[in-house]
């Protein structure tokens, strides 16, 4: 069963304990200065955005069919069956296609290191394998960040919206965006006020490339035969010329 995270902004009090727990889990530094940074970076995998008395989290959406994993030439990024999208630096060659392809601009780079890697939230993959919730969900004092089976979380999100229609926008961000994501968000104010794009395609992004790439194996023998065929046809001239010359020689000899 694929796991997921449901973040309900209406229950969030902006305590930022999720940020701290995330930093501890991933061995990242955390202090007041970093807490004040409302952007994710190579040293901050999640952040709580504050807008007046409203809050919103940013973290890797852990897409169901992630662009980053699809574009990685060496398979360093992987979508695991449990939900997390993981990264293996020992495979990475640093082409940064994952960063260019991610529509949420989630993967960050260690630009200042001579041996850099990609950094991002991996939905606490190790904890999830061990059957534990993510660090951010475990610490959340109000239950705003909830960990569980994605299908169940989706049902719960729909139920909350149904029970309190005035409390929520009628939109579960991540239900269908880019084919669905493991992380889903609920909010009372428009998502684009927190920089989330609401014009995203509902198609899984890798399908855009797959419809071209999948044709290549068929294309190669066809195109190769065509080129060889054209060569064969256009070089007939030389064969004809040779044959004619041969004929002439024989005629000349017979005389």
């Amino acid at each position: 069963m694929s796991k997921g995270i449901l973040y309900d902004a209406t229950m969030c009090i902006g305590c930022k304990q999720c940020e701290q727990a995330c930093a501890t889990e991933n061995g990242l530094p955390y202090d007041d200065k970093i807490a004040a940074q409302e952007v994710t970076s190579a040293h901050k995998y999640t952040t709580v955005l504050v807008k007046d008395d409203k809050f919103m989290r940013r973290l890797c959406m852990n897409c169901d069919d992630p662009a980053c994993a699809s574009v990685c030439p060496v398979g360093a990024m992987k979508k695991t069956a449990l939900g997390p999208v993981t990264y293996d630096k020992s495979r990475c060659m640093g082409c940064r296609y994952c960063m260019a392809a991610c529509v949420f601009s989630v993967p960050k780079y260690e630009w200042d290191k001579a041996v850099p890697g990609v950094r991002k939230c991996i939905m606490c993959s190790k904890r999830v394998i061990a059957g534990k919730p993510t660090a951010c969900a475990e610490i959340c004092p109000t239950g705003a960040t909830k960990f569980g089976d994605r299908d169940e979380l989706l049902e719960e999100a729909k139920k909350r919206m149904h029970d309190n229609p005035g409390n929520y926008l009628p939109h579960i961000f991540g239900e269908t965006e880019v084919g669905g994501t493991s992380v889903m968000l609920l909010s009372s104010i428009p998502f684009n006020q927190f920089g989330y794009r609401t014009d995203l395609t509902e198609r899984a992004l890798p399908m855009y490339t797959y419809q071209v790439l999948s044709r290549i194996p068929d294309f190669v023998p066809l195109f190769g035969t065509m080129l060889g065929g054209i060569y064969w046809i256009t070089h007939r001239r030389e064969d004809v010329a040779e044959a004619e010359a041969e004929e002439k020689r024989q005629k000349g000899g017979g005389r």
């Binding site: 398979g75 060659m93 780079y109 490339t209 790439l213």
Partner: protein, 393 residues
């Protein structure tokens, strides 16, 4: 054996200056990291090195497969005398692309990983294999030139007998590679501006590569006649000019149709940041060269062809930079301008390209049918860099 006099010329001074700066920037890149050597950021993981050195490098090398296809596969013998310089350019271009990739990759020593860690769903994986195989094929296509020079007849015979296979492979790999650089961006429908994101991206990249291949051949021939005292093959260039007209027209029409059907055409007439770059690109790449080449007087003259070719090159360089940089600026919310170190490294590769081409043209039978030709009075541009090995031959 005479050792050429070492003289200090303007171009040599420029070359040495760029190389010296390049060495310093190389140090910065590999010892201080990408952050210190570039303006790349989490918003702009790809910048000048991908946009120019790789995207344009591959595109400018397209003359190799365009001309070998015309001569070897379509058997247009008239073009035979200009094939070798285009193969040299392509081979050099790909070698420089590989070198530039070593600068841009975060962990360049892992560049061989795609050999054993495969993700066939990745366009980058396809690109990696195309670069690898096509560079090998180009080396083989180029090898007769070296074998001739060293008079290795037996090996030359073997290579020649297999040349058809190399040529077909080369055209196939180029077709895949040129188009796949466009396919790279198919996965960014919500990131790349609709002027440039299109389901037809691979087709546009392929068509423009052919146009650039032709333009590059005209450019090269003009330069060679200027600096290596070669006679200008004007009749051939005129014919290439005509082919260029057709390819540019096809590209332009397809572009119009594509923009129209996606409802983006009207945006081209609304002033805006992307619109300015888009109009610049379209004027340079299609409108201006087509307009020039449709005038018979221009199409027939050496200067006219040269100008149209240069415009085409500039236009499609603008296109590749627009796709890599301009087109994503709005989506990621920021602007990117390369750091001086990035520009120096790029300039270093361009200068190396020119210098090595000059050296090869001087010492290898690149223009074989003119072996007995006495160099013109004008001095070869890169004689100064010559290694005095075969100078006395």
């Amino acid at each position: 054996m005479t050792i050429p006099r070492v003289r200090f010329t303007f171009w040599k001074a420029i070359f040495l200056f760029i190389m010296a700066a390049g060495v310093y920037c190389t140090y910065l890149r590999f010892f201080r990291g990408l952050g210190a050597a570039t303006h790349l950021s989490d918003q702009f993981p790809w910048g000048l090195w991908i946009g120019f050195d790789v995207m344009c490098g591959v595109m400018l090398a397209a003359g190799g497969f365009t001309l070998t296809a015309a001569v070897e596969i379509f058997n247009i013998e008239r073009f035979h005398s200009i094939v070798r310089p285009t193969i040299l350019t392509a081979f050099l271009g790909y070698l420089l692309v590989c070198a530039a990739l070593m600068y841009d990759l975060g962990l360049p020593w892992n560049i061989w990983h795609p050999l054993i860690m495969r993700n066939p769903h990745s366009v980058m994986f396809e690109v990696a294999y195309c670069v690898m195989f096509y560079t090998t094929v180009l080396a083989l296509e180029f090898s007769p030139i070296v074998l001739e020079h060293f008079k290795l007849k037996r090996t030359l015979q073997v290579v020649r007998s297999l040349m058809v296979v190399f040529v077909i492979l080369g055209v196939l790999l180029s077709t895949l590679h040129q188009s796949s650089l466009g396919t790279l961006y198919l996965i960014m429908p919500n990131k790349l501006h609709p002027f440039w994101w299109s389901p037809l991206l691979p087709v546009f990249f392929f068509l423009s590569a052919i146009a650039v291949g032709l333009a590059m051949t005209i450019f090269e021939s003009s330069m060679s006649s200027k600096y290596f005292g070669r006679e200008l093959e004007l009749p051939i260039l005129r014919e290439l000019g005509r082919v260029l007209v057709v390819v540019l027209a096809l590209y332009g029409i397809l572009k119009l149709e594509d923009l129209y059907h996606r409802g983006v055409l009207k945006l081209a007439f609304v002033a805006g940041y992307e619109q300015r770059f888009f109009v610049l690109e379209m004027v340079l790449s299609v409108i201006a060269p087509l307009g020039l080449l449709l005038i018979p007087k221009v199409r027939e003259s050496a200067q006219g062809l040269y100008l149209a070719a240069v415009l085409t090159l500039l236009g499609f360089v603008t296109n590749r930079l627009n796709v890599t940089i301009t087109g994503v600026e709005n989506a990621v919310g920021g602007r990117y301008t390369p750091k001086w170190t990035e520009v120096v490294i790029t300039a270093m590769f361009v200068a190396l390209g020119f210098a090595i081409f000059g050296l090869a043209a001087k010492y290898l039978p690149i223009f074989p049918e003119e072996k007995a030709h006495i160099p013109a009075l004008r001095e070869p541009a890169f004689e100064e860099f010559a290694v005095p090995v075969h100078a006395g031959d």
